[in-house]
Amino acid sequence: MIRPASRIASAAAAPALVVVLLATLPVWLGHHPYYVNIASQILLWAVAALALNVLVGYAGLVSLGHAALLAMAGYTVGLLLQAGYGHLAADLGAIAVTLAASAVFAVLALRSTGVGFLMITLALGQIVWGIAYRWAGLTNGDNGISLAARPAPFGLSLAGAEAFYYTALLIFLMALVSMRILVRSPFGASLAGTRDQPRRMTALGFNVWLIRFLAFLASGFWSGVAGLLYVYYHQFIAPPAAALTASAEILLMVISGGAATLLGPIAGAAIVVIMKNVASAYIERWNLVLGVIFILIISFMPEGLVPGSVRLARAAWVWLRARLPGREGRYTQERIS
């Protein structure tokens, strides 16, 4: 199974090209802070969508409470910074809190699967939102928590749009690579197995519950990382970050792009962030647009935009070929019928 060097080169060429494109993106965007910031938003939401995709796509467990995990990381950073801790301590604390919360979410939600799992995560997410909103003594309620400044790791300030973009890009690439390794690993295979045939997996000797639990922790970890990016990007966090709408947006990214694919959630994040920015420039009704997109995608492309577009393109190609004159066209038509 030794692959020729040329094939390895061509297999490595496409990702390398994309990385180069992403690394030079600020140049293509004319160093315009507004566009660079939108690119940063896409990257941060892509990390969140990749995190949720571990559960939705690979474990077959649909969570509607993931924004709460993201927000919890953001709030922890805000509170620890307020309490006088440094950025590193605050970030580590935030990840620890998010992991602990993920463990609690997982233990409760994994009492059930399918629709029950979705309901429990939704209820848990709303409770976190309720705490953020009502426990004003801790969270400052509706007014939220502001961050004085972005961190400056190794003396490099992230205050500027481009400095932040490169940080987000680095973290995004780390998330993407780790996801790729995870889904191709034996553990990834075990996880997909629990999604498709949990009963058989148990009979084969797999601990289905523990596999799902660990997947939830992995998902929670990257949600926490996305939460760090979120709170540093906005330098502000408030209850809407934990709301059901936010959880639904992340889920929309995963589903619209294509669950259980690596690129789907990223495409979904790009679509949702761009739509949101475009929509909010013209109309105030983002939720309306969100709802309509949801319904359109579910009705016409239930498998997601990336696999869905491939399917539609194929169908269109077959349709075209069938209508072209000549033997080949007839042959195709016969084969279809």
């Binding site: 629709v115 709303q126 309720g130 639904a248 309306l288 709802g291 949801f294 009705s299 239930p302």
Partner: protein, 286 residues
């Protein structure tokens, strides 16, 4: 009236409203296995419609019934036209209801602005009644009475009619029910419309003292979820007990520990999930 008594009366009244909301939610979930995420939206939209009708001087009860009918129509249509096409695909069905929840929320915001609306309590329901030397606000008692009456009506419907027998059969085992010739699909539309109507009716009943405001939908939805997790899916008795339990926890929690009201709501749910995941009155499914 003492603080405790006021709280207790408010709790019972909220419990009644929650029952109107969650009984339909529970039946829909039990029968169709769809957690209808627009159920809170039916409650809110029903309330807004009620407010609009009341503002035109229409009688309170007629307004409530008209809102319920409108919700039944909208719910029935969504079920018939869209949810039906996704039969058996649980996730798309859930997402569809979520999409509609967002649309309804935004349309309400557009039509009724972001300000809260609080219709006046209808004249004939104002004032207080004296019971055992204590004065109770009449309206709260009426809410409870209506909820209890509807609970009895639902119980009669589900336990004593042919339609109810079909619903019970469908809740217990939809494929078998289909095999024995119950037209499950028509039943689905009917139960969905009934659930929507109950939620809309509850919205109007709640408007005079909860008021109506953007976000009410997603505040009520998790309450309905928690009630059903507590009481057990598809169980009317469970919805009733769960509703009053949450009604008390919510009011007393908000009054005594306002910061932690949501945590207090969360605790019984955790206990139930750990100790009895099928809910207090739910059946174990294999």
């Amino acid at each position: 009236m003492s603080l405790w008594l006021t709280l207790a009366v408010n709790s019972v009244a909220l419990g009644g409203l929650l029952f109107l909301l969650s009984s339909g939610f529970s039946l829909i979930f039990g029968l169709m296995r769809i957690p209808n995420l627009m159920h809170g939206s039916f409650f809110m939209l029903g309330a807004y419609l009620g407010v609009a009708l009341l503002a035109r001087g229409i009688n309170f009860w007629i307004a409530a019934l008209a809102s319920a009918a409108a919700m039944a129509l909208i719910g029935g249509l969504i079920e018939r036209v869209l949810l039906r096409r996704l039969e058996g695909q649980v996730l798309p069905q859930v997402l569809l209801t979520l999409g509609f929840a967002f649309i309804i929320a935004d349309v309400c915001l557009m039509l009724w602005t972001g300000d809260p609306w609080q219709p006046a309590t209808p004249d004939h329901l104002r004032g207080a009644v004296q019971v055992a030397g204590l004065y109770f606000p009449l309206y709260r008692l009426v809410v409870v009475a209506v909820a209890v009456a509807i609970a009895i009506a639902l119980w009669l419907l589900v336990d004593w009619t042919r339609l109810g027998a079909m619903i019970r059969a469908g809740v217990d085992d939809a494929p078998i029910a289909r095999v024995v010739g119950i037209r499950v699909s028509q039943l689905f539309t009917l139960v969905f419309a009934l659930g929507a109507a109950l939620a809309g009716f509850g919205g109007v009943m709640g408007a005079p003292y909860l008021s109506v405001y953007p976000g009410l939908d997603f505040e009520m939805l998790p309450l309905a979820l928690i009630v059903v997790i507590l009481g057990g899916v598809g169980s009317l008795l469970g919805a009733l007990v769960g509703s009053f339990l949450i009604g008390f926890l919510y009011n007393f929690g908000t009054a005594l520990l306002p910061d932690l009201a949501y945590v207090i709501l969360f605790l019984p749910m955790v206990l139930i999930l750990v100790l009895r995941p099928q809910g207090l009155f739910g059946k174990v499914t294999t």
